[in-house]
Amino acid sequence: MISQLAGLLGRFTLFLGIWWLLTDGRQAGLMFGGGIAAAAAMLPLAIAEPRDAGKPRALLPTVLRGLVLLPFFLWQSLYGGIDVAVRALKPRMPLAPSVFDYRLRLPPGPAPVMLASLVSLMPGTLATVSGARLRVHVLDATRNYQDELELLEAQVAWIFDVALQAPQAPAPNVWQHSTEQDV
């Protein structure tokens, strides 16, 4: 109950802050914005399915934990941008693409999608969620990406406050080269 209330207040503050940004801090529409923010903050109570066991997940802690890791993601994304820009501009264009499967330890839900988005900003990798696996397209097949992906997955699990589980995908244990295009 307490955590629900905290979540409600947190969302309200967040949405009101966005309203404040969008209106350049003008006071005139604040009543209107406050009402909309309150309605938006209450919406999840109406549409989200009740959480079964112990762990309440509010939006705000997730956002805050994401902000803690933001510098790391920004740094990696800077490195990723430079890497691909250099490859694009070099006359002989060094590319050795390949596709790998990574077995997810994250439970299904928004977390794997977030992981795939982040992986796509990291140097040399592009990912889509495919069941309990992450299909990763890499620009440089000579490198090993397993450690980076495991680290990133652990960070996403922390952001969403979910526990990593044993990989659900039946596929092989480590990196497997998959040239066949199963969907």
Partner: protein, 97 residues
């Protein structure tokens, strides 16, 4: 000082947009082109947003720019996943060199 830093950031942002577009044109297949678009353009936009935030007149305007960047980041992450899944569903093979 702030003005020259802002100009440097804007120019760097343009450079990454340029590199991303070169990648889009030169790279051999849909997957490698997605690499160029998601990474180089997001970084380019981030640098341009930073450069513009330094010139923003109000805090709210600076915050708005930041929110725009975060929204584009989210949208482009989702879009690149959608395009890649679409290509995979069409059984488009990755270019192997």
């Amino acid at each position: 000082m702030i003005v020259s830093l802002s100009i440097a950031l804007l120019l760097a942002g343009v450079g990454f947009f340029f590199a991303g577009t070169v990648g889009l044109l030169r790279f051999p297949d849909v997957y490698t082109r997605l690499h160029a678009l998601t990474k180089a353009d997001n970084l380019g936009l981030g640098l341009i947003v930073l450069g513009l935030m330094l010139r923003a007149e109000t805090g709210a305007a600076a915050g708005k720019l930041l929110v725009i960047w975060l929204l584009v980041l989210t949208a482009s992450g989702a879009a690149s996943q959608l395009v890649a899944s679409w290509a995979r569903a069409r059984r488009i093979r990755p270019w192997q060199g």
